[in-house]
Amino acid sequence: MVIAATPDELALIVNGAERRIPAGWTLADLLASLALDARTVVIERNGIILRDRASFAKLELAADDSIEIVHFVGGG
């Protein structure tokens, strides 16, 4: 069920699931809320990899953004 976001918040997709965040949040805010260290993850926003981790604090998230947060796990 999709509920329309209020003016103070926006809805986006993070790792395939919808999340609501306060309007105006940056990518760094989102990572902090998820207790993730930017140095240990790789972020893709709308299909584009964000290489410059220093830019995360300035990158304001938009409604309907699709964010993928990945890292290394065990594999062969």
């Binding site: 993070v14 790792n15 395939g16 699931a17 998820l34 993730l36 240990t40 993850v41 790789v42 893709e44 990899i49 290489r51 993928e68 947060i69 990945v70 890292h71 290394f72 796990v73 065990g74 594999g75 062969g76």
Partner: protein, 271 residues
């Protein structure tokens, strides 16, 4: 046991260092990091294996933190060479995307490229693999291509710029050992880039026989991780890879279908 100390083992060094794309590695055994019962067991097994190159996979972060899966919390990237794979990718586009994500982690531009063509056998989609290899090589990746034991595909991958070709011994996770030694030997004889057998090694004798074919190295995961005692199996695999390499370098005796006595036939009593 004091007398045993008087006999020091002879060790001969390998005349050819194990080198991929100009980088020398200390072990011809490369290991995966999946399927261990615990991270502690994984680390102990990797240490026992003596491997320097360890493979990792790229996956979504579990935002609920229900699993402790972030491998870099356990594996020191200064001690091991992290080789990201594209396991689970069923087409070139996905494999390229995963390779780019892995590179963005910032460790290196190397990728163990897998483009899988079939869920049941996990055999490679060689057309997709070739396509992804070309694209990634153009983007500056060092591509180690997981492929089947087909010579023509191996040659095409080398032409496309792969820095190593990784034919399977048998399907991923099967533990069936090397099913086609002739094909593996042929690939090794015809390629200039390193040939690293990847997948299918089930026990130490399998690893030894693979190395006896003259290939440059082996990558394995399940053969160690799924053993009852993974750490002990890692020790066995390390010794087997070294043993197989030495047997290859030594050059085995020719096979004969008749017996040839090892002891003198002259000087028998009563003759």
């Amino acid at each position: 046991m004091a007398h045993a100390d008087l006999i020091s083992p002879i060790t001969l060094s390998d005349p050819q260092p194990f080198t991929i794309a100009g980088r020398e590695f200390r072990s011809r055994l490369m290991v995966g990091t999946g399927k261990y019962a615990s991270n502690a067991q994984m680390i102990e097994a990797i240490e026992a294996s003596g491997a320097e190159v360890v493979t990792v996979a790229v996956r979504r972060v579990d935002l609920d933190r229900s699993r402790d899966e972030a491998i870099l919390h356990h594996l020191d990237p200064d001690q091991y060479f992290l080789l990201a794979n594209t396991a689970g990718c069923f087409n070139a586009t996905d494999a390229i995307r995963y390779a780019r994500l892995a590179r963005a982690a910032g460790f290196n531009e190397w990728v163990k490229l897998e483009v899988i063509g079939d869920q049941q056998t996990l055999l490679p989609d060689t057309a997709g693999l070739l396509e992804a290899t070309k694209t990634l090589v153009e983007e500056g990746f060092k591509v180690l291509a997981y492929t089947n034991e087909d010579l023509i595909t191996a040659l095409r991958l080398e032409d496309a710029g792969a820095v190593a070709v990784m034919p399977l011994a048998s399907p991923i996770g099967s533990g069936l050992g090397m099913l086609n030694p002739y094909a593996i030997r042929t690939i090794k004889q015809r390629l200039s880039v390193p040939v690293i057998v990847d997948a299918g090694v089930g026990t130490a004798s399998d690893a030894c026989i693979v190395m006896e074919q003259g290939v440059d190295g082996i990558l394995m995961n399940t053969g160690i991780a799924a053993a009852k005692e993974p750490v002990r199996m890692a020790m066995a695999m390390r010794a087997a890879v070294e043993s197989g390499r030495n047997a290859y370098l030594a050059g085995r005796m020719p096979k004969r279908e008749v017996a040839v006595p090892s002891s003198p036939t002259a000087g028998m009593l009563g003759s």
